[in-house]
């Protein structure tokens, strides 16, 4: 199966988790990667992206509305918008917060499920609320792969726990083992 997009969601503890995951990700995993990290509206534009860029060779950026989605690129959802995907491009909205969050992981994941179906991978990491659970279930329902960080190893376990309650994950893994699992999905023959 050729996976085109990996969508990752986190809240509390997400910066460290994303950094760890990206730093260990083999170059051969060249799907587009889209990160939704809960951020306050005052979050300075570009801070999260530049912090992550320090860990990672592949380009990290905050997409503009309608920007094309490119393989081997890492995209970070901007603060105070919901990030969606649609026909190969990003779409932004300023709709109401979902579970107090904007960007919302559910909003991203649900659009990824619809747009990419069985070519999508969704990953829920550490976080202190239930955002992402419904979205991960949607990805799984459309034939995509659902990965959840092992709650016991997460900085905050609420988000992974909620995800596991909402859907049957294809893998429940400590952070360090997720890159290897992705490599297996994307680059090894079945």
């Amino acid at each position: 199966m050729s996976y085109e997009l990996i969508a990752v969601g986190a809240s509390w503890g997400g910066l460290h988790a994303f950094g760890t995951l990206l730093a260990a990700l083999p170059d051969e995993v060249d799907a587009a990667i889209v990160l939704a990290q809960h951020r306050g509206p005052g979050s300075v534009r570009g801070t999260l992206e530049s912090l992550l860029q320090q860990h990672v060779a592949r380009p990290v950026s905050e997409p503009d509305d309608k920007e094309p989605i490119e393989r081997a690129h890492v995209y970070v959802a901007p603060a105070d918008y919901h990030l969606l995907v649609d026909r190969g491009r990003f779409a932004l909205t300023t709709d109401e917060r979902v579970q107090y969050a904007r960007p919302s992981v559910d909003v991203l994941f649900e659009s990824v499920a619809t747009a990419y179906r069985e070519r999508a991978i969704g990953i829920v990491l550490t976080g202190a609320n239930a955002d992402g659970a419904a979205g991960l279930a949607a990805i799984k329902e459309r034939g995509g792969v659902a990965i959840v960080q092992d709650p016991a190893s997460a900085a905050r376990r609420q988000m992974p726990d909620a995800a596991l309650a909402a859907t049957v994950a294809d893998a429940v893994l400590p952070l360090e083992e997720i890159p290897r699992f992705l490599y297996g999905l994307c680059c090894e023959a079945p």
């Binding site: 509206p41 534009r45 905050e62 997409p63 503009d64 509305d65 309608k66 901007p78 105070d80 918008y81 969606l84 995907v85 649609d86 026909r87 779409a91 932004l92 909205t93 300023t94 709709d95 109401e96 909003v107 659009s111 619809t114 747009a115 179906r117 459309r142």
Partner: protein
């Protein structure tokens, strides 16, 4: 040779549920256009789909086709969907850096005109209009600048005209106002009334609220500044290009176009007609 997953028990090829949903949305938008004249066919699909699904929940129907049935036969349902599609959530002094840049870069230019016009296109519930009105008043421009606030939806315009915003937002708005370079106490501009903050009527003495449809209506005046922030994100590329042409036509030379934080004029039809005033805050000046 395995069974074709797209062929069902009857031997018919059918697409996925998402293909079906996409078809239903297309039919819904066509129905709305023909019945009511509103054209949402070039709205961005992802955000449109979210709002249609929300309306489905609101009307308690299970399918878009069921929603279409209600919409075509009951104008009140159309009214509710219109509200869903035209209210863009925003905040007073959202992106305070933008207002600070407007103060620093656009206001000095506005001062050079004996009389100036600003168009707030897609003003929705009016938060941006009142923010601009406050800024202009503080800069001593209130009686030399007329603001035209337009929106597709008459009901929403009425709400904007009233100038009542939720009281529980005032703390957030006060912080924004301060960061935007506000020179007074924010609370001077409103009076608490039940759950609402009623903003001073004098702020809109020089504001014209009028209905205007960016997709279908023509240019109606020439402006020294056009503010359209986080409105075009709800349009698809084709409609965005149409609106950019409209804005270019409606701007005086050296007039300023102001977009939302994650919007850009790059790749738009008139990209070469503007110089960048502030790339970070999305302020562009028309030069040709």
């Amino acid at each position: 040779m395995g069974a074709d997953p797209l062929t069902d028990a009857h031997g018919w090829r059918s697409g996925s549920l998402d293909d079906l949903e996409a078809l239903e949305i297309e039919l819904l938008l066509e129905g709305i256009h023909r019945r009511y004249g509103f054209d949402f066919r070039e709205y961005a699909p992802a955000s449109l789909r979210r709002r249609v699904r929300r309306r489905m929940d609101g009307e308690k129907v299970e399918t878009i086709s069921a929603l279409q049935d209600l919409i075509l036969h009951d104008p009140a349902v159309m009214e509710r969907l219109l509200l869903d599609l035209s209210i863009n959530v925003t905040a007073m002094f959202r992106d305070p850096g933008f207002y600070a840049a407007f103060r620093a870069l656009v206001v000095p230019q506005l001062r050079t005109y004996p009389f100036a016009r600003i168009w707030v296109a897609g003003c929705s519930t009016g938060e941006e209009v009142y923010s601009l009105a406050i800024l202009l008043a503080e800069e001593g421009l209130a009686d030399r600048v007329r603001v035209y606030a337009t929106d597709i939806n008459q009901a929403v315009l009425e709400q904007a005209r009233l100038g009542v915003f939720p009281l529980d937002k005032m703390q957030e708005y006060t912080q924004n106002y301060i960061k935007a370079g506000g020179t007074r106490a924010f609370s001077e501009y409103y009076v608490a009334r039940y759950d609402g903050a009623q903003f001073a009527r004098s702020l809109v003495d020089n504001v014209v609220f009028a209905q205007h449809n960016l997709a279908t209506d023509a240019a109606f005046n020439e402006f020294h500044a056009i503010v359209c922030r986080n409105v075009m994100i709800y349009f698809d590329k084709s409609l965005q290009e149409h609106v950019h042409r409209l804005f270019h036509e409606s701007l005086a030379t050296f007039g300023v176009l102001a977009l939302g934080q994650k919007e850009t004029i790059r790749f738009s039809p008139h990209e070469e007609s503007y110089e960048v005033l502030d790339e970070h805050e999305k302020l562009y000046r028309k030069v040709r």
